[in-house]
Symmetry: C2
Subunit: 453 residues, 2 copies
């Protein structure tokens, strides 16, 4: 009998694993259960669909279920929810809404993803309030703008994380007046204060009304939302988008007695294995190992999911493959700015991991001083005082600023010291960089701070 590889959840991690396992070992019988209607879709593209930059929701689908079946030989079953795992008998129970069925597995991958956090705020269920997470949410928001009804003229966005910032740009692009509410003192908190300050200035320049340090207590209205309630007063809005974070979807794993880790996501080892034999987990439902701390972390981002899924697919097909560590590298477009971060930037998190963090922020030009078209790039770097090991960094600016974070991410993976970073032979030509790239300049300045300390 053929080996059965069963995948629960048909997005990035699940479909990467399914594809890789089938390609590496075509004899394996690969079955994917997806409770929704889409598989392999790009959730990261939703703000651009709302903005109208992407025309059609289907454009966000990389490969359709039919293509997976016909071209890759993967048995994709949408509208099928796995409701129970029996790891003793290597079986899952599957429901199509009416009837249930059983499916046995040799290897099982949990790729159940994450769900949007629903903050405990009065009026969250009012019409015109959208908790954004999946494709259906994006469609609903765009229909609210493009639909037959009176188009909204103003929007409240709850949450200043990357989803909030991207949605601010998207809704502003549609001509709405945008109010962004964040309970913390800054937007993009994981990107550090220096980057956040640059982004906030730019958001204000682009007429986004920032309400920082401002918890929202309710969404006011009769059936339909008409205002956002805060301690500082009411702000009238026609629609609200809530994007305050995601949480791993782990009920299925928990019910099966599969261990969760300190972050609440499913605990995994370096091969993506869970606490139960032949059960793997990857993507937004699973933990990963942090490249700086070596400890479990929760990074629900696309590359982490794709890479872990692919590695597990290879492992299941016979070649044990590590899922790789993560640095929490992220990049966001905020109107004209590129904002990126990697590693441990938060002092408190660094101290909890046993480091004594020292950080510095510099601003330099993106090009040689005499070459036109340059712009400011602001770089933050953090390192451990004693070992001088690099801990993390952030970059914000225009003109190719953002992907410069990849250099810092690469250095983190190499456990580089600040001196190591400073000595990297990075590319220079006048249209692209000063002789000392801003990342190198930041390393030089941080080295000076460490030497002086």
């Amino acid at each position: 009998m053929e080996r059965q590889f069963v995948v629960v959840g048909g997005d990035a991690a699940g479909m990467s694993a399914a594809s890789k396992a089938k390609r590496d070992d075509p004899e394996t019988d690969v079955v994917v259960f997806e409770r929704g209607e889409w598989v392999s879709y790009a959730a990261c593209g939703m703000p651009y669909y709302v903005a109208g930059v992407v025309d059609d929701l289907d454009d966000l689908v990389t490969i359709t279920p039919e293509e997976f079946r016909s071209e890759r030989g993967i048995d994709v079953r949408t509208g099928r929810e796995v409701t129970e795992i029996d790891p003793e008998r290597n079986r899952v129970t599957v429901s199509d809404g009416d009837e249930t069925d059983e499916q046995s597995y040799d290897d099982l991958l949990l790729a159940t993803g994450a769900h949007a956090v629903r903050p405990p705020i009065d009026g969250l269920d009012r019409d015109g309030v959208y908790v954004i997470h999946d494709m259906a949410d994006a469609r609903a928001i765009r229909e609210a703008i493009d639909g037959d009804g009176e188009p909204p003229r103003s929007a409240g966005i709850l949450g200043g994380g990357y989803v909030g910032v991207e949605m601010a740009e998207a809704l502003a692009a549609r001509g709405l007046d945008v109010h962004l509410f964040e309970m913390l003192p800054h937007v993009l908190e994981p990107f550090g204060e220096a980057a956040a300050a640059v982004v906030e200035d730019h958001l204000r320049e682009r007429d986004v009304d920032l309400h920082l340090d401002t918890p929202v207590s309710g969404f006011v209205g009769d059936d339909r939302v008409t205002a956002v309630e805060t301690d500082a007063g009411r702000v009238p809005v026609d629609v609200v988008v809530v994007g305050v974070g995601v949480a791993p979807t782990v009920d299925l794993a928990a019910d099966a007695g599969i261990d969760r880790g300190p972050t609440g996501a499913v605990a995994t080892d370096e091969y993506g294995r869970t606490s139960r034999d032949h059960v793997y987990a990857a993507g937004d439902c699973a933990e990963a190992r942090h490249v700086v701390t070596g400890e479990p972390t929760y990074v629900p981002l696309a590359l982490t999911a794709n890479r872990a899924g692919r590695a597990i697919g290879a492992t299941v097909a016979g070649t044990s493959t590590r899922v790789g560590d993560v640095a929490g590298t992220a990049i966001v477009k905020a109107f004209d700015l590129e904002v990126a971060r990697t590693g441990l930037l938060d002092d408190e998190a660094a101290r909890e991991a046993g480091f004594d963090p020292v950080s510095t922020t510099i601003t330099d030009e993106s090009r040689a001083h005499y070459y036109p078209g340059g712009a400011d790039i602001t770089v933050t770097l953090a390192a451990d005082r004693e070992s001088e090991r690099l801990l993390g960094g952030a970059v914000v600016g225009r003109d190719r600023a953002g992907k410069r974070i990849d250099t810092v991410a690469s250095a983190l993976a190499a456990r580089a010291s600040v001196t190591d970073l400073q000595n990297l032979d990075l590319a220079y030509a006048p249209p692209f960089s000063p002789v000392w790239d801003p990342v190198l300049t930041a390393a030089r300045v941080l080295q000076g701070d460490l030497d002086a300390a």
Copy 2:
């Protein structure tokens, strides 16, 4: 008596060393002898001055001699040539053209730079033929275009290296018909054939007439050049720019019995020390150590010079500082393309260094497939078959392609394997990258090739 730090040559390496030494130990007496009229000038900016992108030659000067004197306390003496070093007596002989003088030193830095190679071609001295290397050459070329005489309508460029490619863009921008002559089969030979092919297509699109595999045998004309002579025939041109490479300026060092290395440049150790006590060398006259081979190499580029100079300045001031290894990382703008390379790309060079090179080239999109404005990015990666250690890479494309090479350069410094590169947590968001950055995709494909081998 104060310590004397004497620097020969006032450009990148020399002025970086002088500035750092003086800042770290203000008691040191720092004297810089520069035989020309400029110090601290950006030779890399010359094509952009010729193009008219940079208005004034003085814009290329970062800091004037007067500013070095008044603001940094450095005794800069322009128009002064060091004609002899006596390393036994720690003295140099200095000429101002008329008279000579002696100057003692405690530490000496040779930062004598490089000079343009003058190919043995008939007619090289004709009017209208410019061997480009320094600021005066750039001025002469621009005067030929902007001056009172009949403006040239066509140009021949000799040499398809980065200077040749940059000058092609510069002269095309000034409205000249450009013929580029390269004796090798491809332009940008150190960037590898795949990148070269993309650049060549683009140069042709932009109406640059490429004469590849075409040695030039003479520059025809009476007083003034009127044509370039090749085996394939004569090509009429109004001006010629020759940029076929540079050679280290080492006469002074050779006369003093200071060792040169296998590349012909001054041999140095990891602190930039030469074979004579208290004599350092840095920049375009000196060797550096290659980060992949560990062997001496010659990389006459700005960052190498600046970093080595700065390190030597720190060492002289009391803190022994390594000059750092180099990867030969380079980036060039070729009209709309960004072209970059790092490490060992040439198979022959890799084999000489004891590796068994395997390389692969992929082309992928610069952005998520659904996000508008993306462009092709072509990535070449090379690795050693047995150890799977990464040896080098090249990137060519638009839309933020070029600086992606920094990730590869960082991986080289970490002695990364292809798997290590593949597992880097690089930044992803739809406007900036596919989920798998093209560099990661190239690593994946190369890993597949290695596994299959």
